[in-house]
């Protein structure tokens, strides 16, 4: 059974695509997090153009999956939320990137 699943995954590279990252908004968030060491909530909101609620919802999902680390602190009595990719998240994003390249790279024009 396990061999069959593995075989089907080898035949179907889409099976390797992480649905958690594949959602457009989370893909956008993961892309920005991939290129920085860390970023705060306000900066991420600004570059992604997402609303507070929307961004927070996606961050929560990514945090629950262990893909990102969120650390909160207060600076001048104001909340400061720093976000960074975990090793697991970075590996997952690389896997997603390679998977998509494999899937789309072989398509004819």
């Amino acid at each position: 059974m396990a061999e069959e699943i593995e075989k089907s995954q080898q035949e179907d590279p889409l099976a390797d695509i992480d649905p958690l990252i594949h959602a457009p908004s989370r893909l956008r968030v993961m892309t920005y997090l991939y290129v920085v060491d860390s970023i705060d909530f306000v900066y991420l909101k600004r570059v992604t153009g997402m609303s507070w609620g929307n961004l927070s919802t996606h961050l929560t999902k990514l945090e629950q999956a262990g893909y990102i680390r969120i650390s909160k602190s207060f600076q001048d009595k104001k909340p400061k939320t720093m976000i960074e990719l975990t090793d697991k998240g970075r590996t997952a994003f690389r896997g997603y990137k390679d998977g998509m390249q494999e899937v789309l790279g072989n398509l004819p024009d």
Binding site: L27, R28, T31, Y32, Y34, V35, V36, D37, S38, I39, D40, F41, V42, Y43, L44, K45, R46, V47, T48, G49, M50, W52, S56, L59, T60, I70, K72, F74, K78, P79, K80, T81, K97
Partner: protein, 216 residues
């Protein structure tokens, strides 16, 4: 912004480039260019050295003012980011190249300045080259397109100044007029960008901050 295609390279550029959206660097640059406009006049009273050195405390005060603006107006609106290794390496490379180039051009400039005789054009070429190359490198390494334009304007401004001096008798090789004008252009660009930035990025409301503290 949300309609843009996602590309890792473009995302990295966008994160970095947005650090220059506030126009503060333009305002500081304008003050440097203003020195080139005013120093020739001041040198009559203060000599070559002090007519330039007098600007150091002015730049110091301006730097502190801009830093205060950045801390109190920009960061609460823009947020903060720690760049990744690719960008850090790029900035380090840029810094090293700029230091080497500026030392080289300083030597060339001094040689040209103290070289007896020779037409004015020969003395302006190293200065124009330095400006063009420095701003082009800044544009390339920092991914800020308008720096290319500044470099081109400033470099060609030197020749325009020389032309005005030789043909219309403008004082000090036309530096005060040309660089005074370009300083105003760069300053106004900076102020426009600053005002636009503040307008486009309002401060988070108390409600949003409380919400972020709870859920963000």
């Amino acid at each position: 912004m949300t309609k843009k295609n996602i590309s890792i390279k473009e995302a990295e550029r966008q994160v970095y480039r947005s650090a220059f959206d506030d126009g503060l660097v333009d305002i500081f640059l304008a003050s440097v260019v203003l020195m080139w406009a005013l120093a020739p006049y001041l040198s009559v009273y203060m000599g070559d050295f002090w007519s330039s050195a007098i600007f150091l405390p002015i730049w110091g005060v301006l730097y502190l003012v801009l830093r205060w603006i950045r801390k109190n107006w920009i960061i609460p609106r823009a947020g903060v980011v720690e760049y990744g290794p690719v960008r850090r390496k790029r900035v380090t490379t840029f810094t090293i190249i700029m230091v080497v180039l500026n030392v080289l051009f300083l030597i060339l400039g001094l040689v040209a300045f103290f070289m007896p005789g020779g037409p004015g054009w020969t003395k302006t070429i190293p200065f124009a080259l330095m400006l063009l190359l420095s701003f082009s490198l800044a544009g390339y390494f920092l991914d800020v397109t308008r720096f290319y334009v500044y470099g081109l304007l400033l470099a060609s401004g030197i020749f325009v100044g020389e032309y005005l001096y030789q043909n219309f008798g403008f004082s000090h090789h036309g530096f005060p007029v040309v660089f005074g004008f370009l300083s105003a252009v760069i300053f106004l660009t900076g102020v426009y960008k600053l005002v636009t930035f503040i307008k486009d990025n309002p401060l988070p409301s108390e409600e949003q901050l409380q919400w972020e503290a709870k859920n963000g």
